[in-house]
Symmetry: C2
Subunit: 248 residues, 2 copies
């Protein structure tokens, strides 16, 4: 039998129904705190509970496209938002994770600089940026696990990649970059050593030869402005100081 004959006789409906969704763990930094985007579910199951934004993947839709669309529907951020970083986190498919049917959720993590307040989607769901340490202890489905995995991904990506530049504007100071690391890692860093290290990593940042218009809000000189370089990996890496204890 050749492929054409085979496909003509193939009946997809003969198999038990399963569904595939995308869920997005979107991070942004607001008021020096790491925030995650959550929505309040407007329909069963788990109506009224907080959950990750997401939804079913369209029949002709690519996975990254579906993730970008779902995120756009919640935040109003244009799909082609220039500083948005979107990457696949993993797939969650425990048989009983959704009471409706067998649902596989492909989770994505999104990173972006201070995003606008979410607009309630067409389905009138409430959506909000929630500081990570104020997030509800329980989220719908297995979304608490997914958020935890997303945070861990963000933390380690900061170590080995220039991801931090996605959390700041087009031009930024070294101090702004350090604030990103301190916020996501949840620990303060040595300003002098951080400065030296960032500038010593090839391709991490490049100088714009300009400075801020004013000094800091509470004093201090004007800071030099940089933009993201062309490195895709940081070499050498910036390691979380507290990693040593987490090793085992």
């Amino acid at each position: 039998m050749n492929d054409a004959d085979f496909l003509a006789s193939y009946d997809p409906h003969a198999y038990p129904p399963v569904a595939v969704t995308v869920d997005i763990v979107a991070f942004t930094i607001r008021n020096n705190a790491l925030n995650v985007l959550l929505v309040r579910r407007a329909c069963p199951p788990s109506e009224g509970m907080w959950a990750l934004p997401g939804g079913f993947v369209g029949q002709w839709e690519d996975l990254p496209t579906a993730a970008a669309r779902e995120l756009a529907e919640e935040t109003g951020v244009a799909t082609a938002h220039r500083r948005l970083h979107l990457e696949q986190l993993g797939t969650y498919g425990t048989p009983d994770r959704d009471p409706r049917m067998r649902v596989f959720s492909v989770a994505y993590v999104a990173f972006a600089p201070d995003l606008p307040d979410p607009v309630s989607g067409s389905d009138a769901r409430e959506a909000a940026w929630v500081p990570m340490d104020e997030r509800p202890a329980e989220l719908a489905f297995d979304h608490s696990t997914i958020v935890a995995d997303g945070l861990e991904r963000a933390r380690s990506k900061l170590e080995y990649t220039p991801l931090a530049t996605k959390f700041v504007g087009e031009e930024f100071t070294i101090a702004e970059l350090r604030a990103v690391y301190e916020t996501v890692w949840g620990e303060s860093l040595h300003a002098g050593n951080f400065h030296r290290k960032v500038l010593s990593v090839p391709g991490f940042v490049e100088s714009t030869n300009t400075t801020t218009e004013r000094g800091g809000a509470r004093g201090g000189p004007r800071a030099k402005l940089y933009r993201a370089g062309d490195a895709r990996l940081l070499h050498p890496a910036l390691l979380m100081p507290s990693r040593e204890e987490t090793v085992r």
Copy 2:
């Protein structure tokens, strides 16, 4: 409407049919070369082409369970094989990646020490270990991409985790461990520095206070034997020498 009423009225068959499969990139080391497990497809589509082992996820089956089962069916390796490491690689869901229907494939990578020759599965498919640099240029579906991603995952996991200990036996010499790195990374390492580094990383290996029975095949003293330690991350990491050029 409460959850119970909602679920009673919910019809899963109302949605377009999709399928979820698992595909496994299984690596082992044979004759000082990295080998990947491939099967020749016995039925359409792409009948006769080489592909990754895998198959549909059972209706009540967890994803890791499905991956372990598929691997066991091809290799005869018991699901609970003591030194087998299995982890999720990513999900591939381009709409036209399978001509039959919309198929999402959750890919897993498996690492194990020299596995036995594969047994042809119940569906009489031919299965074989293929050296990575002799693998067919084209595999069925998007499996070439998946294998490439799996290799990259293996390479970077060697840097930051004690994964290499999964490729050797229960007890091993530092030289055997170095051979794993050299094989997967495809470059030779400085024996003395590698030795020093492995022993200096806390929890990577622990001594058994025994040595090999004989010296090496071509001479040399007996080597001390070690077993895997309890570290889950290597700190400091062992970095690929060639990474520096790959940075951008």
